[in-house]
Amino acid sequence: MTELPAKVIQSVLAGLGRFSLMVAEVVRSLTTQRLSGHDLMNQLYFIGVKSQTVVLVTGAFTGMVLCAQTYFQFHKVKMDTATLAVVSVSMCGELGPVLTALMVAGRVGASMAAELGTMRVTEQIDALRTLATHPIDYLVVPRVVATMIAVPLLTAESIAVGILAAYLVGVHLLQIDPGYSLVNMQRFTDHRDVLMGFIKSFIFGGIIATTGCYKGMHCGQGAEGVGHATTEAVVYASIAILMSNFFLTLLLTRLLALI
């Protein structure tokens, strides 16, 4: 009876060990190898440019619904003009980075796991190794760097579009006073909120890419293995984003208060 938990613990620890070794190899590659600009641009295009639609739609509708819900509650206590301030602070520090990261994890993390997993089961990764190319240098590093650049930029877009959409809903649909709303928004939105969003999205980008690449590089055999790897890449990255978000909020609030 004790064998099963022991095996599970052993498997989890082995997985964490392999993941740590991969991350260490990524850091080593970044410090010792030259990153191909062509590979980086290709990944930036796929991760950044091709994710625009999904991220912008998510940002816009999140801003709109947040504005409407906040207004419905604040209107009862005659605090209508604080609505956009709540939207702005929430979008910058929490919803913008988290929802953008979750959407990118679903689109890009899954794609990375599926692509690298297929390369593994069709011996393309072994072929890379026989061609004197380290798979981490060629496959993982450009994806990690590109995701860590693209996610903060996508988050900035998502936040901007979310606030704009909230403004349009609040002012034109719910008849909130635009002047007071904008003043309150500027008054309550601190540069620390924006900075927190940026730092979080940078870390979330790293989580998405390393999880997707790890799952792809270590996937099981056949189509079933690739399918599992793809699902696990999205699930694990999403859970890691949500859990780390809580701890990052606590940590960054303390650290940024010192600025």
Partner: protein, 248 residues
């Protein structure tokens, strides 16, 4: 050039390699034969450093590569070219980009030189003019030829072939065998071919090693093995199953 000493590898409960000893001389054309699932491909992966053994050594030019890390192995693998069973072409790249992969990564070859060498490699494998095609547009035989062009473009010292004729019809198989011989003779490379195709063995092999029960059971010329009276060798080369034994 390559020496294997007491190589052992176990996957779960199965002892796949159980003390393999083998020496491969420079310039020779060696064929390794053996039953499906008998560890031929595992042995080949050890020779290239794609798999680490549980014990034993793989010496390449006198240096033990069995415990080198991935980055140290990259320099050793520069001496090797490998044609995979499935060709393992990179789906996202064109034929030209696949073949030029190593040269393009080295960043010290001008584009004209790369284009010329790709054309030469394709000429050598009798596939001229397909530079712009994607791997998905190629047949099985064409993919193997392109895989071979990719393996030889940077002039390796040793070319490994993992079941080069598997999945091909007899005519295409014969043309691939002849291509293997031609590449070996023209480029003066050491060829190590894994196969269970007896026709292939006779066409490409100058020396044959038979892997059986995790060890090198016997070595000799193709003619020696074809004429062997040893029951294990004789049954294998003639394709006769033992009714007392599970053969799958």
């Amino acid at each position: 050039m390559i020496e294997v000493r007491q190589l052992r590898k176990r996957f779960g409960d199965q002892q796949v390699l159980d003390g393999v000893d083998l020496t491969i001389e420079k310039g020779e054309s060696l064929v390794i034969i053996g039953r499906s699932g008998g560890g031929k491909s595992v042995l080949l992966k050890h020779l290239v450093g794609l798999t680490h053994p549980d014990s034993g050594q793989v010496l390449v030019d006198g240096r033990d590569i069995s415990h080198l890390n991935e980055r140290e192995l990259l320099a050793v693998r520069r001496k090797f070219g490998m044609l995979f069973q499935s060709a393992a072409l990179f789906d996202s790249l064109t034929v030209e980009e696949n073949i030029a992969f190593v040269l393009a990564r080295e960043r010290n070859h001008p584009p004209e030189e790369i284009a010329r060498r790709v054309a030469e490699a394709l000429e050598m494998v009798e596939m001229p003019g397909i530079q712009k095609r994607k791997p998905a547009e190629l047949s099985g035989g064409m993919r193997k030829r392109v895989g071979l062009a990719r393996a030889i473009i940077y002039r390796p010292e040793v070319v490994f072939y993992d079941e080069p004729t598997t999945g091909l019809d007899p005519v295409v198989s014969d043309s691939i065998d002849k291509l293997v011989v031609r590449v070996c003779e023209r480029l003066k490379v050491t060829s190590i071919v894994i196969t269970h195709d007896m026709r292939s063995m006779q066409t490409v092999g100058r020396r044959v090693a038979m892997l059986h029960q995790g060890r090198i059971y016997t070595t000799g010329t193709p003619a020696d093995l074809m004429a062997s009276t040893d029951p294990v060798v004789s049954r294998f080369v003639r394709g006769i199953s033992d009714e007392k034994e599970h053969t799958f």
